[in-house]
Symmetry: D2
Subunit: 146 residues, 4 copies
């Protein structure tokens, strides 16, 4: 396996072994060098008081997908979220979220990734949030997913 394929295997593994991601049922749709795409069918329990998808769900999806994109450029090393900023652009109505994350800068010790979250409402996709995230590349192999 080349590094990207090995990374894809590990990212699929992380998606499976991360309880909260499995609980939200976030799916890995695409994984390539510098790119990660995911989606989520909105269960009723993920909504907030006005019936929109809760901001915490959107942040979780965006953070995890940005982490996947970062993992695609970190070789065999694990990545850790140091911080992120998210802008909520529109209320997320509808029953499906899609997220696409790309790497803005891949350094040896730090990676910066961005994620766009779209809500699908009756067949029309709307951009609902944008995240920018800084991740560290873990040196310690024990810190790796495993």
């Amino acid at each position: 396996m080349n590094p990207v394929e090995a990374g894809a295997d590990e990212v699929r593994n992380i998606f499976y072994r991360a309880n909260f991601i499995r609980d939200l049922d976030i799916r890995l749709d695409k994984f390539a060098e510098g790119l990660c795409e995911t989606s989520l069918v909105v269960q009723e329990r993920l909504r907030q008081q006005h019936g929109f998808v809760h901001g915490g769900v959107i942040a979780t999806l965006a953070d995890h997908t940005a982490g996947g994109a970062a993992r695609s450029v970190s070789g065999t090393k694990d990545v850790l979220t140091v911080e992120f900023k998210i802008n909520y652009l529109r209320p997320a109505s509808g029953d499906r979220l899609r997220c696409s994350a790309t790497v803005l800068r891949a350094g040896k010790t730090a990676i910066v990734a961005e994620a766009l979250v779209y809500a699908n409402n009756a067949g029309e996709e709307v951009l609902v949030a944008k995240l920018t995230e800084t991740l560290f590349v873990a040196d310690d192999p024990k810190a790796r997913a495993g």
Copy 2:
């Protein structure tokens, strides 16, 4: 009821009517002018692949608690999260999270709030994350919770 008491009632209501908050079982512990405190018992399904609490859970807790603090200074008006930034300071181990949020600036159209998240591991509390959030005060009464 004075405005803070009325706000407390509404915030309790929001905590109850927001499915995702009820799903995570986030509890409102304290509510006063410019302050909101919450807590959460960590269910196994809220963890990530290394056994720590997932960053998305921490962000949701911090965002919602900052929103509660903002709601305590917005009179009868609803508040909406425009954006937030969160720094993850340490891995969140243990079985309980506590969050304390305060208002940094209460404007007529925008409120800035901050939230600190602590993890309780075997009786010892550790600061695991800090969030800064901008919220808008909703003019439209139809946008209100309710």
Copy 3:
């Protein structure tokens, strides 16, 4: 004049009347709906202790250019920076900075804009920073540049 041309006039005016922008000698290169481009020749006094352009100069350039982009979609109303986040991606060497800002979301009360800053080193352009910014649309005409 159409609104974008009127906005361009006002943005040129702001660039001229904002002392600090004139002091740094930031130039307006392009202005269109949802877009603003600027540049700056690096004076020696704008560097930091390692000889790179100081982060504060880069932040000022990015913030001001994002404000220009926001102003291109706010009609006759002024815009105010509420907050921004900037990631420094590489050290800014060389003698010229270029900035390109676009609008991510133009709401009635809030605008979200992004700016990319490039450094020109011996003819080669490198991406050195990325900013995301939230601006308010000022309702009060007295708050307008004037």
Copy 4:
């Protein structure tokens, strides 16, 4: 000299050797473990189009002071700003700015610092901005100020 005193010497040096900081005339007022305080007399050329201090000046002051606080806990190693977020809370009128920065988390590879900026208007101090910043600790001694 103990590490904090050595750090203070180096920070004073950085303030002196960083052209842009000298150009803005930012002064180091206090330096202790986990703390840095600075101030700036507002020259007319540092204002924006409405006569307030330009946001870029405020960001530069806050970033540099947060860097000073981080430097107080990094031993002999240099620190580099990875990213920051700043919230502008009120317009900065008056003729003097004061900044106080503290360390929120001092890790081996990353430091998180916060800075508060106050404007002094006719003897009264007002909080005008708050910054949160992530810095890397530079391993390479060649990256050190020097």
